[in-house]
């Protein structure tokens, strides 16, 4: 278990109401969940991520990078989902519905679909590195820890991933 002490991000040190954490980082975590799992499972993974974070939040070390901490939880939730080992879902009878997936705006959708498909087709390390570096804005050291490799390897994977995406993307955009 990583000690979440990153001294140059001390601005997160004050005890902030969890509501601020959701407001500030909710959209980033949603993008990561969508990229890791697709739209259908993203809402569940998002809720599970923030629920786990809420539980652990009072014990979070001052000075921790909140975003890296949340993305790590999302990473684990996504692994649970992909292994089908997610906790049994809560009964949802009196809970608000999971929001319906928004249709992508017309005209934009085909390029975005193409990009999503290209990302999904990347080798696992490249895909993870692109998501955690560019969608979650983590440092290469943090990306390396998530992918159980070094910062150098994470940097290489992210660069390779972007190069591959650009290849697919420009091909897809031309056709």
């Amino acid at each position: 278990m990583t000690a979440w002490v990153v001294m140059d991000r001390a601005r997160d040190a004050a005890v902030r109401p969890f509501e601020e954490i959701v407001a500030e980082h909710g959209p980033v975590v949603m993008r990561v969940c969508r990229a890791l799992l697709g739209q259908a499972d993203a809402a569940d993974a998002w809720s599970e991520t923030f629920l786990s974070a809420l539980e652990a939040y009072p014990r979070l070390q001052p000075g921790s990078s909140i975003r890296a901490w949340l993305v790590t939880i999302a990473h684990r939730k996504a692994i649970d989902h992909l292994r089908g080992a997610a906790r049994r879902p809560q009964p949802t009878d009196d809970l608000p519905e999971i929001p319906a997936v928004d249709a992508a705006p017309a005209g934009e959708s085909s390029i975005d679909d193409e990009l999503r498909a290209a990302l999904e087709a990347l080798p696992a390390k490249q895909r993870g590195a692109v998501i955690y570096r560019y969608l979650a804005d983590l440092s290469y050291a943090e990306v390396g820890e998530l992918l159980e490799s070094s910062a150098t390897a994470a940097r290489r994977s992210a660069a390779d991933g972007i190069a591959n995406l650009r290849k697919h993307f420009s091909k897809g955009a031309r056709t």
Binding site: P17, V22, M30, R31, L51, L54, Q90, L95, L115, V130
Partner: protein, 201 residues
């Protein structure tokens, strides 16, 4: 060609349009699992925007906008728990009763309160304040006596000015012995407004 366009494009491809109900679903799940220690909402009033905060025990804080709601929430995070979410539902009844009070249609509040932010003598003062009826006033000296320490008039006044649940715990009904209104967190004018409203209803 730089990587910037494709990275922007990537973020765009996975962006969600709005919250779409995720927040209220999170709050409901948190409440069900006992992880929601403090919920809050705001409500409009003739005295400006009020912040209402509640624990599972009851209403724990009412704050005027002059107190700065962000500061109040940060204090609640350190004094009670940082497990705080904006959850209007848990506070609907308190908001409704405050609406009725300001409309002159309610003389007593029946929502449960949580006085954990007040200790010792201050707590005794607040317990006594809850027994001062609508439309009545009492002097700080009388309140000090009733709270068990007749010589602690200044401490009684201090307890009133640090009341965590103003309006619902009616510190505005405590006035100076000479009959003047005295201080109030939201200003003496707000206090006069409340007393005039209660006298007229």
């Amino acid at each position: 060609m730089t990587d910037k366009p494709i990275i922007d494009r990537l973020a765009n491809a996975f962006a969600a349009a709005g919250d779409g109900g995720l927040h209220s679903r999170l709050a409901a799940l948190a409440e069900r699992q006992g992880l929601l220690d403090v919920s809050y909402r705001t409500v409009d009033s003739p005295l400006g925007l009020l912040l209402l905060a509640a624990t599972g025990e009851g209403l724990v804080r009412v704050a005027f906008s002059c107190e700065d709601h962000d500061t109040v929430l940060a204090r609640l995070a350190s004094d009670i728990s940082p497990r705080i979410l904006r959850t209007p539902r848990r506070l609907d009844e308190a908001a409704h009763q405050l609406d009725e009070y300001f409309a002159g249609k309610r003389r007593a509040f029946s929502v449960p309160v949580d006085l954990q932010l007040a200790h010792g003598f201050r707590r005794s003062v607040l317990d006594h304040l809850r027994r001062i009826p609508y439309g009545a006033t009492q002097s700080y000296a009388a309140v000090a006596r009733a709270a068990g320490n007749p010589s602690a008039v200044r401490a009684a006044a201090s307890a009133c000015s640090h009341n965590p649940i103003p309006l619902v715990v009616p510190c505005h009904r405590v006035v100076r012995s000479d009959g003047t209104t005295g201080e109030y967190l939201a200003g003496p004018e707000a206090k006069r407004t409340l007393l005039a409203m209660e006298a007229a209803a």
